[in-house]
């Protein structure tokens, strides 16, 4: 008898919880950030679609705390300014993002406005997942006039498919304490290729041929491959891609090979670096085992939270004949099934996300740089100790057009390993890299 009552009580509690959870969800006008709620969210969307005057936009971005929080705030403001439009935010962890997006497609569900890494955009465009930005709201000449030219990386088939709020560039992070310890002036970071090599050697400590402190962190799998493509190659006067983005011209100019050899000089003849040193470049730099690292503005937040005592500074990437750095960005697109009033709402939302005010707040909250030149190049940003060097680099920043970011990255990693692990001739490894990259591009364009 006792047991029966106990079960009944449990059942009752369960029912109450369920009801509370359901009603909580439908009452809650704020966006959901828990990925496990996706199913329910989508149901809500469908319900509110039946409601004539309420348009609900489904916005997806990856889980990055500062971005998610800021977006929650922005959505609230946007909803206040635009009664009748509701925006629901859904987040997935970065490494599951593509999977989650992909998994929703066959189910006919998914976002209306989606935040994508620019390198993924060609794959999404190719699959017919996105629609071009409406030209009346985003005229091409206006985009080209206001935004940094690097946004052209997602211009394909004569259309802009996405538009970013913010961009990131790579720069040189260096540890001031280790500079001083090695007798180097922490206020004059290396500015040229030769200086970077000299500094790296000075900052390296080895014992019995084993690296104890790396002068220059070197990790092709992290930012290393971007540094090679958009940094070193362009600095030496070379080009990775032809103007039509169909031909890999990396090997046409001796500058390509020169950059590749320079890049490899750190782990080879200079012996200042080692792949996988303290597992990866960021860990090595944070634990003060690496004195310098090429990394992005997106790392600043991590450093501030994980290593508040780390005494570091940032400088633009050392250049050679030219200055150049890599830029990358997360960018917003509208999915192909959005039409009519919903499309108008989505366009309005994109307009809001690319407004000057949002860009400034985005920098403060996430550390990502404004994508519009006029916003970024304000004195208060250019003179900033931390963000200044990144913003300074924006005018000469380049965002490589990826047909397949993962595979292109893997090819660079493989080329490096062929030299480092298998003792291949750098020229041979480089030619192979150019050739296999070309194959990727041929494959991509042949399916067009």
């Amino acid at each position: 008898m006792n047991r029966k009552w106990y079960l009944a009580f449990l059942g009752g509690m369960l029912l109450v919880f369920l009801l509370a959870a359901c009603s909580g969800n439908s009452d809650n006008s704020e966006s959901e950030t828990d990925p496990s709620d996706v199913g329910e969210d989508t149901e809500n969307t469908e319900q509110s679609n039946d409601d004539e005057d309420q348009i609900t936009l489904e916005y997806w971005q990856y889980s990055f705390d500062s971005k998610v929080d800021l977006m929650d705030e922005l959505i609230e403001e946007f909803e206040a300014e635009n009664p009748g439009i509701k925006v629901e935010q859904t987040n997935f962890p970065y490494d599951q993002y593509n999977e989650q997006v992909a998994a929703q497609v066959p189910a006919g569900r998914g976002p209306d406005v989606i935040n994508l890494f620019y390198g993924w955009v060609p794959t999404y465009v190719d699959a017919g997942y996105l629609q071009p930005l409406p030209q009346d709201a985003f005229p091409h000449d206006q985009i080209e006039d206001e935004f940094f030219p690097l946004v052209e990386a997602t211009k394909m088939d004569g259309e802009y498919w996405t538009i970013p709020t913010a961009v990131r560039t790579l720069a040189l992070f260096y540890n001031k304490d280790l500079f001083e310890e090695a007798g180097l002036d922490p206020n004059s970071p290396p500015e040229t290729w030769d200086e970077l090599q000299d500094y790296a050697v000075e900052l390296t400590k080895s014992n019995n041929g084993r690296l104890e402190q790396s002068g220059m962190a070197w990790e092709p799998a992290q930012q290393g491959h971007h540094w090679l493509r958009d940094g070193l190659t362009l600095q030496a006067g070379g080009q990775v891609l032809g103007d039509d983005r169909k031909d890999v011209v990396w090997g046409d100019d001796p500058a390509g090979l020169e950059a590749f050899k320079y890049w490899l000089s750190f782990p080879t003849e200079l012996e200042t670096s080692e792949q996988g040193f303290y597992t990866d470049d960021v860990t090595a730099f944070v634990t003060e085992k690496a004195a310098m690292n090429v990394d992005g503005s997106f790392r600043v937040g991590t450093l501030q939270s994980d290593a508040p005592d780390l005494n570091y500074a940032i400088a633009p990437l050392p250049g050679k004949d030219d200055q150049s750095t890599n830029a990358s960005f997360w960018t917003n697109g509208i999915t192909s099934r959005v039409e009519g009033e919903k499309l108008e709402a989505a366009t309005e939302f994109l307009n809001f996300l690319t407004s000057e005010d949002v860009m400034e707040r985005w920098l403060d909250a996430t550390g990502e740089l404004p994508a519009k030149e006029a916003v970024a190049m304000q004195d208060k940003f250019v003179d900033d100790d931390i963000y200044g060097p990144f913003i300074e680099s924006l005018p000469f920043a380049n965002a490589h057009f990826f047909v397949d970011e993962t595979r292109e990255r893997d090819l660079v990693i493989d080329a490096a390993n062929r030299v480092l692990q298998e003792g291949a001739d750098p020229e041979e490894a480089f030619n192979e890299l150019v050739e296999s990259t070309q194959e990727l591009y041929d494959e991509y364009w042949s399916s067009k």
């Binding site: 999404y124 597992t279 493989d414």
Partner: protein, 324 residues
């Protein structure tokens, strides 16, 4: 379920109409025995429905997808392309490499796992004190998170790790381990073996308990050496356990080689130079990095046939009848 019970219901109704008009309640309730069966079948059916929906039907669907040009992000119809995906896979160097690696993972991993499992079980079978303690120690790796173990191994094995420190102290040059295309796969296999010893140990201990002591006594009387006793008594009688362990170990190995490889390989995707790439990792990359479900499904079908063939082979070759 309905179809199953309809005929019996009808016969009963027919019978009852001839004699007496039955109440609705009796019709619904049926005999108590039948009610009990309905309950049991319902309970059994629910998991089966779930299993059908979540495992069997998607598995069958994979065969279909394998013959199509199916881009996961595209909502357009996926055209039927026949054997194209299979042809593409067998022309793909990386896929061939992943098959080769998977065979290596299984051959070395399962053998090592069985060998060490038997050794540890035999040793534990011989001792009387601290048996519980040792069992716990050997079993702990098996219940520890693979991700955590993988990262600990990475740190132990890195250039400045503790193993290389020891090497340098005793005069051996430091080794690249996970950074080397020649060593990485063996390092990962070793970590996997280390982790699964505990599981195999438990299976073999149970198997050893079941061998009657009198067989050893008889062998002693015949003057058998320990070695002879092992090969003539222990191994044959452990045979069912060995077959079971080998089959389960193989399937397990194919499954967990994913987590291990993703977490231990230098670039997180089977590197360096694809030297640690297993079929499952490659299937994942095809499906969720390149969104090519057609290729991924074709690779999955090949993996299925591979496991099927291997299991049948193991059952045939390893299972022997011993009469005593």
């Amino acid at each position: 379920m309905k179809t199953h019970h309809n005929p019996s219901n009808q016969t009963e109704t027919n019978q009852s109409t001839t004699t007496n008009k039955p109440s609705l309640m009796t019709k619904l309730k049926g005999s108590q025995k039948r009610q009990k069966y309905i309950f049991v079948y319902t309970c059994l059916l629910l998991p089966i429905l779930f299993y059908l929906g979540i495992r069997i039907l998607p598995t069958l669907f994979t065969f279909n997808v394998g013959f199509r040009d199916w881009n996961l992000l595209s909502s357009d119809a996926a055209p039927f392309v026949g054997m194209d995906n299979y042809v593409a896979l067998f022309q793909d160097e990386v896929f061939i490499r992943s098959i080769f690696n998977t065979i290596l993972y299984i051959a070395l991993g399962v053998t090592g796992q069985l060998m060490f499992g038997i050794i540890v079980a035999l040793l534990l079978h011989k001792i009387n004190r601290f048996v519980g303690l040792f069992r716990v120690i050997y079993f702990i790796p098996y219940v520890t998170s693979i991700v955590a173990i993988s990262w600990v191994f990475q740190w132990i094995l890195m250039g400045n790790g503790i193993i290389n420190d020891l090497f340098v102290k005793i005069g051996i040059p430091p080794q690249p381990f996970l950074n080397s295309p020649d060593q990485a796969i063996y390092v990962i296999i070793a970590a996997m073996i280390w982790q699964s010893i505990g599981f195999q140990m438990v299976l073999f201990l149970a198997g050893l308990e079941n061998i009657p002591e009198m067989l050893y006594e008889a062998a002693d009387i015949d003057g058998a050496t320990p070695w002879q006793k092992f090969w003539r008594v222990t191994v044959p009688l452990l045979n069912p356990t060995i077959v079971f362990s080998a089959v389960i170990g193989t399937i397990n190995f194919i499954q967990i080689s994913f987590t291990q490889v993703v977490n231990m390989s230098v670039d997180g995707s089977g590197g360096p130079l694809n030297s640690t790439l297993s079929i499952v990792v490659y299937i994942y990359q095809l499906a969720f990095r390149q969104f090519d479900m057609g290729l991924a499904s074709a690779a999955t079908v090949i993996l299925f046939l591979f496991i099927l063939g291997l299991t049948l082979f193991q059952m045939k070759v390893l299972t022997k009848k011993f009469d005593y």
